[in-house]
Symmetry: C2
């Protein structure tokens, strides 16, 4: 099998900086982690907060700290540095090759949408952002690495898209349709982003980040690949 991750990310309309931070890093024993944080407020301040959270998490993951412990540490760290005045969401998805599992770690009121064996479900157990309480714990879900498993994590800009005009995006329904159409993770991320931008008439009211991870049948070769696109003004 193989893992593919597709990411699409855009700033709030007319905002020079996104409050969302996303990094992908290699784990110590192979495998990958994707870390996404959405800092409170928008622009420069939000960016500083989400960067602080993501940096803390990736430096701990790189040292072999488990995802749940890294999330708790990031929460305590933000709580201590900002006196509990500032919050950030935090999502981690990891391909852990030691346990051959997919680990989803969530400190985010927004749910995570998954599709397993062709059936879509929403992981929406109550979950608290990091930074405002002592002892904040993440919600953790773990799945065996099996083909045709898809996970979608996103910042709240995606679920808010279309809310102003009373037609919010139905992420689970979209994912189900996109998987039926055999779209790749990158195509799914792009399709969700396109849907959001259409609803927002190309002027998103918040930063939007969408990450789609898919466990797919093995294709062609043993080459790892990564592609990045950064539009400049």
């Amino acid at each position: 099998m193989e893992i593919q991750i597709g990411v699409a990310k855009i700033n709030k309309y007319a905002s020079p900086e996104s409050g969302d931070t996303l990094e992908v890093i290699e784990r110590p024993h192979g495998g990958l982690s994707v870390v996404l944080a959405d800092g409170q407020r928008s622009g420069k301040n939000a960016k500083r907060i989400s960067t602080m959270v993501v940096r803390k998490v990736i430096s701990l993951l790189a040292e072999g700290v488990r995802d749940g412990a890294a999330a708790r540490a990031a929460s305590d760290y933000l709580f201590t540095h900002k006196n509990g005045q500032v919050q950030s969401t935090l999502n981690i998805i990891s391909i852990d090759l030691d346990s051959r599992t997919l680990v989803i770690t969530r400190n985010n009121p927004e749910p995570v949408v998954i599709s397993s064996h062709g059936s879509v479900s929403v992981l929406d157990e109550e979950s608290q952002s990091v930074g405002i309480y002592r002892d904040t714990r993440p919600v953790i879900n773990q799945f065996d690495l099996e083909e045709n498993l898809f996970v979608v994590i996103y910042s709240d800009g995606l679920s808010f898209a279309g809310e102003r005009i009373g037609t919010p995006i139905d992420i689970a329904a979209s994912l189900s349709r996109q998987i039926d159409e055999a779209l790749s993770p990158q195509q799914i991320a792009d399709a969700l982003m396109a849907q959001a931008l259409e609803l927002e008439q190309d002027r998103p009211g918040d930063d939007i980040s969408v990450v789609v991870l898919g466990v797919l049948p093995y294709m062609e070769d043993q080459v790892r690949r990564m592609w990045v696109r950064l539009p400049l003004k």
Copy 2:
């Protein structure tokens, strides 16, 4: 304009772990850095060394340290931790949005190949790997961000490909041809990798990593994208 980065990476034949480590991170004021290290020897030990170097560099870049200073720090750090007994190559390419330049930082005997305004050249000033001497300095080249600028960095597995059978790969000539054919950075990275694997008869004698960065005309939209593929056994 827009930046695209394409990466292709494979392990030495029959080796479960690559000694090359590559990470892409966001810079504090926007922009991106790609950091590639190739640790001495191969397998687990090499991986540990290259990871140590890349982690040190990205944590410093994230704090706003300039690329040259981060490279010098990584060298001193490795020198101190391993008593000057272990070396690693180090390449950093950064899109620096403060200065609107492309910065190439090199501690690697392997050259960097660039193409600017349709003409390919090789940056091959003498350069020392990090970790074995005090006061090792990187070679730094800086270019204005202009369309149709391409940079190729790679680990020595690429230039060694085909050497055993007396037909080493000519990276500059390949790049020139691939740009004439209007290939994207990912397609160029894939084409160089395919050429190397053909010369090595699909059994690469060393870890191979190829990174191609291109500054291209702006296409379609303001969406940042990232795609990752990780083949599993």
